[in-house]
């Protein structure tokens, strides 16, 4: 609330703090049936973190295998194939896609808008249950023998060759249902942003995180149904053989790839756009400076969303797609670099002469800037058809998308988590412990994936369990380095989990506005009350107008309209006699 100025008097009269959303109502059942966006955000946070650790465990196992050129850790190459498939599928569908929007977005979006909740709270809860159901099917697929199709479920792997019972059908069904979860979240956010902005909250007063979430939500709504029908067709194809994708029945497997990537390329931006939104917040708030190029960043999110629908064929340069299409998709892919670079330039310009505070969220933002730009630039190499023919299906590709997905999304997720942690739980994490965690994650990340660029450009293919042939053994030292780095990331993740959980119980209590930020979530208590705002807020300032901070209290100074509204509400509430005290 911008309107808390007269509140102290009211508060002293009552003498008791309002219960936070974490306290009331109590009981596990109240959490499982909650319609409160903040609690659903926390439920999502717990779930996606679990998925992150399960997916990460598979990554650790993969890296363990690759230390040696021979088959050493896994019992068979099939087991290795299953490990990388599950690593990819769990990370992509269960962690990265819902990660930032559903966990962090759910928590902060209505608060940032000055709204009491998302537009469709029941759908919001349903989305989480769909996530659970889809994930349960994925786990069912693991228990039913695992899948070795790769996370892309390419035909004919998924239709003909992967014959592990019904595991493939279970996994396809699981991802199908996870898609519903994603659609419901995106749909909810779009409606909320259109219909529930508080008074004074124009589109250009929304924090940039919301612009990014908006662009993401559009992608979720438009692209995800195509994934649904693609997976449904793959299921029918596997179960009955309808001959749309299966070549032996007259189908075209390349058509499957078109269908799949019509979703999954925009899905890459479903994964990275929210991360970019988080970075915009972190950089502006922790350099305490108005963001440079607000509209450029806002519109570049929409531009990325739109262009992302026109470039999917760059995943298929070597898969039998026509060369005409290859040229068209290659050219259009280069266009993505423009809005992306606009963002990067504006972030750097925001840092320039800002009061940069090297707190953990800012460190993650800087880490993001560094590695994401490397990831983005290597994407331009891969978008060039002639270079792609050389690099396709090598570790170069693996390194590229991990630079974008881990170096981009995971770092932004961690940065955003630290940024909003005090608001979510009302406690401060230990800054020194967090800096150590940052060092392990970012250092381990570069240590893991930089060698993969080198290996890949020298021809080390991806998805090989063994590399004791054709002179590939020369890559063993780099593989070893990469594996060691992976364990450093793993240690960093476990360490981060430990000190964050510790802080919930033992951390210093957080102020209302520890970072001196100006968006509305920093104007409610930490942690917020169940009912977000006692009266619907009124804003007359932008999300980065840091001069509105009262440096003494750290709170946002209410504008005249807010003061009037709160005074009116307070007068109505106070018991007789208290009014004079309040005004006096």
């Amino acid at each position: 609330m911008t309107t808390e100025a007269p509140a102290p008097a009211t508060a002293e009269l009552r003498g008791e703090p309002a219960p936070s959303y974490l306290q009331e109502p109590r009981g596990l059942w109240s959490w499982l049936t909650t319609l409160d966006h903040k609690r659903i955000g926390i439920l999502y946070l717990i779930s996606v973190t679990a998925a992150l650790f399960v997916g990460g465990l598979f990554a650790m196992l993969i890296r363990l295998e690759l230390i040696s050129p021979e088959l050493s850790f896994f019992s068979s190459t099939l087991a290795y194939n299953q490990a990388f498939t599950l690593h990819g599928a769990i990370m992509v569908f269960m962690f990265v896609i819902p990660g930032i929007p559903a966990a962090l977005g759910n928590f902060v979006l209505p608060l940032m808008l000055g709204a009491q909740d998302v537009a469709l709270p029941r759908l919001n809860l349903a989305s989480w249950y769909f996530w659970l159901a889809g994930s349960a099917l994925m786990i069912g697929a693991i228990l039913a023998g695992g899948i070795d199709t790769g996370w892309t479920f390419y035909i004919p792997y998924s239709s003909t060759y992967s014959r592990e019972g019904d595991a493939v059908l279970l996994a396809l069904g699981g991802v199908f249902i996870l898609g519903f979860s994603s659609i419901f979240t995106g749909l909810n956010f779009v409606v909320t942003m259109h219909k529930l902005r508080c008074r004074g909250m124009g589109w250009f007063r929304m924090p940039l995180f919301l612009w990014a979430i908006y662009a993401t939500a559009l992608l979720q709504i438009v692209a995800t149904p195509v994934l649904g029908i693609t997976l449904a067709l793959a299921m029918v194809e596997r179960a009955f053989g309808v001959g749309i994708f299966r070549p032996e029945l007259g189908g075209d497997p390349v058509l499957f790839q078109h269908f799949f990537w019509f979703y999954s390329h925009p899905a890459v931006y479903i994964m990275i756009l929210p991360a970019m939104g988080v970075i915009s917040e972190l950089i502006a708030v922790h350099s305490h400076k108005k963001i440079f190029g607000y509209r450029a960043i806002a519109f570049s999110s929409l531009a990325i969303a739109l262009i992302s629908f026109l470039v999917w064929g760059h995943h298929m340069f070597t898969s039998g797609q026509s060369q005409v299409a290859g040229a068209v998709f290659s050219f259009l892919t280069f266009l993505v670099a423009i809005p992306t670079a606009i963002k990067a330039v504006n972030w750097v310009a925001t840092l320039y002469k800002g009061q940069i505070a090297l707190r953990t969220p800012m460190l993650y933002a800087l880490g993001f800037l560094f590695v994401f730009i490397v990831g983005g630039l290597t994407g331009i190499f891969l978008a060039t058809v002639s270079i792609n023919l050389h690099l396709h299906d090598t570790y170069f590709v693996v390194a590229h998308f991990h630079y974008v997905m881990v170096g981009g999304t995971v770092m932004a997720f961690l940065g955003g988590l630290h940024h909003w942690w005090p608001k979510m739980f009302g406690r401060m994490y230990n800054e020194r412990a967090a800096k150590l965690g940052w060092l392990l994650v970012v250092g381990g990340f570069i240590w893991t994936f930089l060698p993969q660029f080198i290996m890949g450009s020298r021809g080390m293919p991806r998805r090989y369990a063994t590399y004791n042939m054709e002179g590939l053994e020369v890559h063993q030292p780099l593989h070893l380095m990469s594996s060691l780095g992976a364990w450093v990331i793993g240690a960093g993740m476990v360490w981060t989990l430990c000190y964050l959980v510790y802080s919930i119980f033992k951390g210093r209590r957080a102020e209302v506005n520890p970072w001196r930020a100006v968006s509305l979530e920093w104007d409610v208590p930490s942690p917020p009350a169940t009912h977000n705002f006692p009266i619907d807020p009124h804003v007359d300032f932008g999300p980065y107008d840091f001069e509105r901070i009262d440096e003494a209290t750290g709170l946002i100074r209410p504008g005249p309209e807010s003061q009037r509204l709160l005074a009116a509400a307070a007068v109505k509430t106070l018991p007789p006699g208290a009014e004079e005290e309040n005004s006096g």
């Binding site: 009552r14 008791e16 309002a18 067709l233 309808v242 009350a529 006692p534 307070a570």
Partner: protein
């Protein structure tokens, strides 16, 4: 730290006022909306976004259909003759009339005519049932002739002419089957609305669920409007 704690309690105090304020409202109004108009607006936008997801879900099949049709025009031409345009036309008329009845049902709800709304919703459900019955006869005829997807395909005449004639019928069964599932879902949704309407849940002030059910039903109709010429009429 005094200011933040104080702010917390201030919040609680004013929240009571807000709760009081909400008491005079329509029972269907949810706490985070200002009024029914805003709530209906939000629901309508959400429904249109959902319809877009439906369009793109069916869109995948339409795209596949279009590509195979351009690849195999001769097969498509020969195979479409196996479908019955009379039954297709009857079903088109049935769905169009059902769209009319559901639109009129909402109009009656807007005018506060609860019984008329119920009758029209019932008529819509009945027409949806007619559609599915016609579809049942079409399907059993196809199954009888062996015009089926995949290995089940056993139509001697088409099999002699084309090596993979079953692909047309894969599209036929997938597209009309998915549409049929939507008709079935629509019958359930409309049935729920009919039940609630009979219990007096809707009024000229609040009929948003009816409007949403109607939007969904019209989309099912629109999809059939495209399926009908593509399967039954294209030469």
């Amino acid at each position: 730290m005094s200011a933040p704690v104080a702010q917390t309690t201030g919040t609680a105090a004013v929240a009571e006022a807000a709760a009081e304020h909400h008491q005079g409202h329509h029972p269907a109004l949810q706490h985070h909306f200002e009024n029914l108009e805003q709530q209906a607006d939000a629901a309508t936008l959400a429904m249109w976004l959902f319809l877009v997801t439906e369009i793109l879900l069916f869109g995948g099949l339409f795209v596949g259909f279009a590509i195979y049709q351009t690849w195999y025009p001769e097969l498509w031409h020969a195979a479409h003759k196996k479908l019955d345009p009379v039954l297709g036309t009857v079903n088109t008329v049935v769905l169009l009339v059902s769209s009319f009845t559901v639109a009129y049902a909402i109009r009656m709800a807007q005018l506060g005519k609860q019984r008329a709304t119920s009758w029209l919703l019932g008529a819509t459900i009945a027409l949806a049932g007619v559609f599915l019955v016609v579809k049942y006869f079409e399907y059993s005829h196809k199954i009888h002739e062996g015009l089926l997807p995949g290995a089940a395909f056993s139509h001697a005449e088409l099999a002699a002419q084309f090596s993979n004639a079953h692909v047309f019928f894969s599209f036929y069964f997938l597209m009309t089957g998915l549409h049929g599932l939507h008709v079935l879902a629509g019958m359930i949704v409309l049935g729920g609305l009919l039940w609630k309407n009979a219990r007096g849940a809707y009024s000229p002030e609040y009929f948003t669920p009816l409007e949403m059910g109607g939007l969904y039903w019209h989309l099912v109709d629109i999809i059939w409007i495209f399926l009908f010429p593509l399967f039954y009429l294209i030469k």
